[in-house]
């Protein structure tokens, strides 16, 4: 009944809106937030909405915003918790997932529920000072800008971005790319600020007369939100209905007329926002933003309860009422779970939020950095407790890493290693697990130290990729899960892991041998043990790389009809197989011995890194779906470092030999 009344009221309001000319001479059309010729979508951020938000009281506590964090939103093709979207969005804009300690969720909540307070948050990262100057801003050292700083140059930014857009993607300069990126980010920001526009007080809906306030039973104003007025629509309808045809309206009636026209305008101007939190009942994959639903009477009728909850959330956020906010959020989430049961059933929102907050990858990285340091200490001071500590730290790191991988599999509902980013945690996990297994058998500390080295290096690189944004992205059709593809990718990464481990152990072996060119029997035994480890892991590397390459060929044959196409990534895997084969055959024929094998294993690590990363930088072929700028430089730096290492070991051996033989001749 209530909704019918709303509908009726809305219709009456609309008809009055349409007949506005009859009331010409009254207040002019209320000034809309001015659009700078940016097109209908771009309304700027109001500075003051007349009723300030106390929501800042909720600023520090993610706990109070928990209900909002767990709200389901359709973003980038996947239904995910709002918190993930908040992090992704903030990383995209500013490069970090928090703002000076304030969590992404908190910032996001402010943008959605109290946008007028977010104008001065430095959330837009503009790396290139030229771009900042082009928009008319003075470049700032930390490269983070606020919306208010950008606002005056917004029209210019739009124009420049439009020009940059006409250039073909491959030919765009860095400045052009940055312009487009910045404009996109600001546009997205403005878009999100309109998410709950209907529930936020608007200066267009200001009530000045106490009689009006009494007639409509309004709380303290002076401005009100669209929804607050909508709730009073029957009363407004009654008053409008009772307008005498020939007598001029009273001041109160005038005010009500003005309000109704503002409401009409506002209801028509709300366009979609990216906060797609309302699933269309009966249609999977069609999620709507609140503004869309409010603007369509039919949908509003169906989702009235949910919209109400959102309005309550906005209101309680702005008043700083944590309890009411939580209650409204819980009610909303419960309703949505009922509406889109199937889609929500396919998500794991609780797990995802837990994983976001725990951030196991970051913690694992930290643990491995510490364990690396402690591991080095063990080689200087051979103390049992140092050894144990390294073990515990590495073990804990591995546990967190595994948790991260498993959680990802559950959340994304697909096998691991389906994107370039995911290869890093997986390779790290496999190589560290194998290293720890080897350490259990040999107990020399060498395998343990390699584990810490690999953990540190690989996870640090992984975190760079994570800075790219949401690491849980949807895949293009050709990469849809498929038995051959999944097995191919997993085996290849295991192959990478084995070769990487072999290379890591080889580093230690070379350093050891270089430092002690004269080998005592204990050293000889210990080195023999290490050499067996290197050889064994290399052999496994060959096995898995070969199987992985072949499975890749089978997948290619099943998907587009040819087993081998000389794709750069295929070639990279082939290079690893060839190199491992060369080493093993050379050893078999006595062409290289222990030191040579270790050096070749280090070169093997270089080849693995080229196959793994380098092929993506060639930007050609079927495998170019993962790309991070600046990576090329880092890759070359890594290769250079390895070459220097090998030369250094060679030089060190020579130096140490001379030193020791000098000592010997001196002593003889």
């Amino acid at each position: 009944m209530k909704t019918l009344l709303h509908l009726f009221a809305l219709t009456v309001l609309f008809s009055f809106g349409l007949s506005a000319p009859a009331y010409a001479g009254l207040d002019d059309e209320p000034a809309e937030a001015e659009s700078l010729g940016l097109g209908g979508e771009f309304t700027l951020l109001p500075v003051d909405v007349g009723r300030p938000a106390k929501g800042l009281a909720l600023e520090g506590s993610d706990k109070a915003l928990d209900g909002f964090a767990k709200m389901a939103v359709l973003h980038d093709g996947r239904v995910k918790p709002v918190e993930t979207m908040a992090r992704h969005v903030l990383v995209q804009w500013s490069g970090r997932d928090n703002l000076k300690g304030r969590s992404a969720l908190s910032v996001f909540a402010a943008i959605v529920f109290a946008p007028e307070t977010t104008g001065d948050l430095p959330i837009f990262r503009i790396d290139n000072p030229e771009v900042a100057e082009a928009i008319g801003m003075k470049p700032v050292k930390n490269r983070l800008y606020t919306y208010r700083q950008i606002e005056p140059g917004l029209e210019r930014l739009q124009r420049l971005a439009g020009v940059a857009d006409t250039v073909k993607e491959e030919q765009r300069s860095i400045v052009e790319k940055e312009l487009l990126r910045t404009f996109g980010n600001v546009a997205n920001f403005l878009n999100l600020t309109r998410s709950t526009q209907f529930a936020i007080p608007s200066i267009n809906l200001v009530v000045l007369l106490p009689e009006t306030r009494a007639a409509l039973d309004l709380p303290k104003g002076p401005t009100y939100s669209f929804w607050e007025m909508m709730e009073r629509a029957p009363r407004i309808a009654v008053i409008l209905d009772g307008l005498a045809q020939n007598a001029p309206p009273t001041p109160m009636e005038n005010e009500i007329i003005r309000i109704s026209r503002s409401m009409f305008v506002q209801s028509q101007s709300g366009s979609t926002s990216f906060l797609l939190v309302l699933p269309e009942p009966g249609r999977e994959g069609a999620w709507r933003s609140p503004a869309e639903v409010v603007a369509q009477a039919e949908m509003l009728q169906k989702l009235n309860g949910e919209i109400s909850s959102l309005a309550k959330m906005a209101a309680s956020y702005r008043e700083g009422d944590a309890a009411a906010f939580d209650a409204a959020a819980t009610a909303f989430n419960g309703a949505i779970a009922g509406l889109a049961a199937a889609e929500i059933g396919r998500t794991n929102i609780g797990l995802e939020v837990f994983k976001n907050r725990l951030d196991p990858l970051f913690k694992a990285t930290v643990l491995f950095w510490i364990s690396l340091f402690v591991g080095f200490l063990y080689f200087l001071f051979r103390r049992r407790w140092v050894y144990l500590s390294t073990w515990i730290l590495s073990g804990a790191g591995l546990a967190l890493l595994t948790l991260d991988i498993v959680a990802r599999i559950i959340i994304m509902r697909r096998p691991p290693v389906t994107s370039l980013f995911e290869t890093f945690p997986f390779v790290a996990a496999v190589s560290i697990a194998v290293a720890l297994f080897l350490e259990r058998r040999s107990r020399q500390g060498v395998a343990l130290l390699s584990a810490t080295m690999l953990g540190t290096l690989l996870l640090t690189i992984a975190s760079r990729y994570a800075a790219d944004g949401d690491t849980k992205q949807m895949l293009v059709a050709v990469l849809n899960s498929n038995f051959w593809l999944s097995t191919h990718v997993i085996t290849i990464t295991v192959g990478y892991a084995a070769c990487a481990l072999s290379g890591a152990i080889a580093h230690i072996r070379l350093a050891r041998a270089a430092w002690n060119p004269v080998q005592t029997p204990e050293l000889k035994t210990s080195l023999r043990e290490i050499d067996r480890m290197i050889y064994g892991t290399l052999a496994f590397g060959l096995l898995f790389s070969f199987i992985g390459t072949v499975l890749g060929g089978i997948w290619a044959d099943q998907s587009w009809g040819r087993f081998w196409g000389w794709d750069p990534k295929e070639n990279g895997a082939l290079l690893i197989v060839l190199w491992c084969a060369i080493i093993l055959h050379a050893k078999h024929w006595g062409v290289i011995r222990e030191t040579g094998i270790a050096a070749c294993a280090v070169i093997g690590a270089i080849i693995v890194s080229l196959a793994w990363q380098g092929v993506n930088l060639l930007n050609v072929g079927l495998h170019s779906y993962g790309f991070t700028s600046g990576a090329a430089l880092k890759l070359f730096a890594y290769v250079g470092a390895e070459v220097l290492f090998l030369l250094a070991m060679w030089g060190l051996t020579a130096l140490r030999k001379r030193k020791l033989s000098g000592k010997l001749t001196a002593n003889s």
Binding site: D76, L542, V550, W579, W589, V591, N619
Partner: protein, 394 residues
């Protein structure tokens, strides 16, 4: 029966063929052929070829990279010869076969290695067969359209055809045969073409550039051509050919055919109306495929495609079957495999493109990979068990 004390046990007799095998293995030619240096150098050369070939591919495209690095000889800087992949692979394959024939020990301990290397030989043979005999082409259909011919991506042919109703009778010469001086006989039309010039990739200019003079017979008023460097994406090449047409009872004429022309050159030869054209190779099929519907699904709320599917009907000798082709799920029929490759959509409708592959050596990589994998596993298990036993003792 154990020998009596003081007697040496009777020698175990090696079968005659094993003795011969061992003797052959000792021959100096054979020893030279089986020298590890050849294997290691060969593998290392292969490594270098793959590495530099991949880098070359990034700038010049796959087709050119394959042509240069997969040939028999590469002329570095035009003067220094370096073996191409084909040469290296031939040498390694032959050495491997020889190795298995005369040297690989026939003991159970090395059984894993036998399987591995046998599988490798099979893999290389399969690769060779694919290289020689596989044909890749494509078929694009609009919704509702039926196709019976697939078209090559980047291989061309010079055709002479006549049309009766809806059928063309075609005589086609492959682009590989279009070398200067080659004679292409068209006996059915009492003619022959002698190729004067052929460019794998060319730009064509109309008579405006030559002031209205038309030195060649051509359907699009093309008066001259200039060769161009091969395109990075080989399907983008536009070849051109100039040939002298000799027909019985007529004067010799020079004709020019260009790959990007829409329409063939229409001539009267031997009393028939014959069309001459330089076009991408067509492969007629024994059966036809009708595209009933093309469906593209996007990930919700994005522009990223989630799946493509084509509902097709396969018509073969009167019998029709309704089937679905989608990503990673091809249609296999009569040695042809149809893969959902891509699509396009415009105002007039939706088009689905299928990649069509026929390859007699298709199954060899599967068999050989299984053999290599199994063999490696076998071999490493034998050795790994040894390692575990050794370290368990310490």
């Amino acid at each position: 029966m154990s020998p009596a004390p003081g007697e040496t046990p009777p020698p175990k007799t090696t079968p005659k063929w094993k003795q011969t095998r061992a003797r052959i293995a000792r021959h100096r030619f054979v020893k030279a052929a089986l020298h590890p240096a050849i294997t290691l150098t060969g593998l290392f050369m292969l490594l270098l070829l793959v590495f530099f070939g991949t880098l070359y591919q990034a700038d010049h495209g796959l087709y050119e990279a394959q042509r240069i690095f997969f040939g028999y000889i590469i002329w570095v800087k035009g003067v220094i010869p370096f073996p191409g992949s084909s040469t290296v692979l031939w040498v390694l394959t032959l050495q491997l076969v020889l190795f298995m024939l005369v040297q690989l020990p026939l003991v159970w301990k090395k059984f894993g290695l036998w399987v591995v290397h046998g599988g490798l030989v099979l893999l290389l043979v399969g690769g060779f067969i694919t290289q020689m005999m596989a044909v890749e082409s494509q078929l694009t259909l609009a919704e509702g359209q039926t196709g019976q011919t697939t078209t090559s991506y980047d291989k061309w042919e010079l055709v002479a055809f006549t049309t009766q109703g809806d059928t063309n009778t075609v005589t086609a010469y492959a682009d590989d045969d279009l070398k200067p001086g080659a004679v292409l006989h068209l006996n059915e039309y009492k003619s022959r073409l002698t190729v004067k010039t052929y460019y794998g990739n060319a730009a064509a200019f109309t008579s405006m550039a030559t002031g209205g003079v038309m030195p060649y017979l051509n359907a699009s008023r093309i008066a001259s051509m200039e060769p161009r460097k091969p395109e990075k994406e080989s399907p983008a090449n536009a070849p051109g050919v100039i040939a002298t047409l000799h027909t019985e009872g007529q004067e010799d004429r020079d004709i020019l055919l260009y790959g990007l022309e829409r329409n063939p050159l229409a001539l009267t030869l031997g009393g028939e109306r014959v069309f001459l054209q330089l076009r991408r190779r067509n492969y007629p099929l024994d059966f036809s495929i009708t595209l009933r519907d093309f469906i593209r699904t996007l990930h919700p709320g994005t522009e990223t495609p989630k799946s493509f599917e084509s509902d097709v009907t396969l018509n073969h000798h009167g019998a029709s079957r309704d089937l679905k082709i989608w990503m990673n799920n091809p249609l296999r029929h009569e040695g042809y495999t149809f893969f959902q490759a891509s699509f396009s959509m415009d105002q007039t409708g939706e088009f689905s493109t299928f990649a069509v592959v026929t390859n007699p050596g298709r199954l060899l990589p599967y068999i050989s990979s299984l053999m290599v994998f199994g063999g490696m596993l076998l071999h490493f298990m034998i050795h790994f068990l040894g390692y575990v036993r050794r370290t368990a003792r310490t």
